[in-house]
């Protein structure tokens, strides 16, 4: 399987997905 980090586009996409995960965590932790 190809490493997604070898693709710049997939790296950026993962960055945005991770942002969504972090935003959810911020809301859960600070609730």
């Amino acid at each position: 399987m190809k490493n997604p980090l070898d693709s710049l586009g997939q790296t950026v996409l993962l960055g945005f997905i991770l942002t969504a995960v972090v935003v959810v965590l911020i809301h859960v932790i600070s609730a």
Binding site: L18, V23, I26, S30
Partner: protein, 171 residues
């Protein structure tokens, strides 16, 4: 003079240097990932040393010291603002989304700083021949440094969301 150079001004000054340093660091990180790495395979062999021997060492100097300056000014800024301890605990129990956000931002930035100084730079030292390494070792170190650089590019997106949202009224 005293009315201008207040404590609040010093806090701002450290924020200014923090952002200047961060632009130097993340600007070069994105240069490596968005420009240099994708372009290298297209560069004719006789021109490649121009990048590898001249541009790369210079860019890596400003890159790693930009990272160092960013984390040092960031820690001082968090301490001057009185929230560094709570932020490092991700604001757990404080019920403050701003504290939790800046906490995540600090930890993401710290992971990125660690990657620069303890994975990318040691790998690049082998790649550049500053540290002796066999061909296989050089290849392996360069690959690991490249992946760490890509991880930092990925982490820079949520890191900047956390840093900016914590102080711009998002929460």
């Amino acid at each position: 003079m005293n009315e201008i150079v207040t404590f609040a001004w010093w806090v701002f000054a450290f924020r200014w240097f923090h952002v200047l340093s961060a632009i130097m660091w993340i600007g070069l990180l994105w240069y490596f990932n968005f420009v240099q790495t994708p372009t290298m395979p297209k560069i004719p062999a006789e021109l490649k040393p121009g990048v590898g021997k001249f541009i790369l060492p210079e860019a890596l100097f400003w890159f790693r010291w930009g990272a160092m300056s960013t984390i040092v000014t960031g820690i001082i800024l968090g301490w001057m603002n009185g929230y560094i301890g709570e932020a490092l605990k991700l604001g757990i129990g404080d019920h403050s989304a701003n504290l939790t956000a800046i906490g995540f931002g600090i930890w993401l930035g710290a992971i990125m700083w660690f990657n620069v100084w303890f994975i990318i730079w040691p790998g690049q030292k082998k790649n550049l021949g500053l540290v002796p390494a066999g061909d296989d070792e050089k290849k392996r170190a360069t690959r690991i440094a490249g992946l760490a650089s890509r991880i930092n590019t990925m982490l820079s997106i949520p890191m900047l969301y956390c840093m900016l949202s914590a102080s711009h009224g998002v929460f």
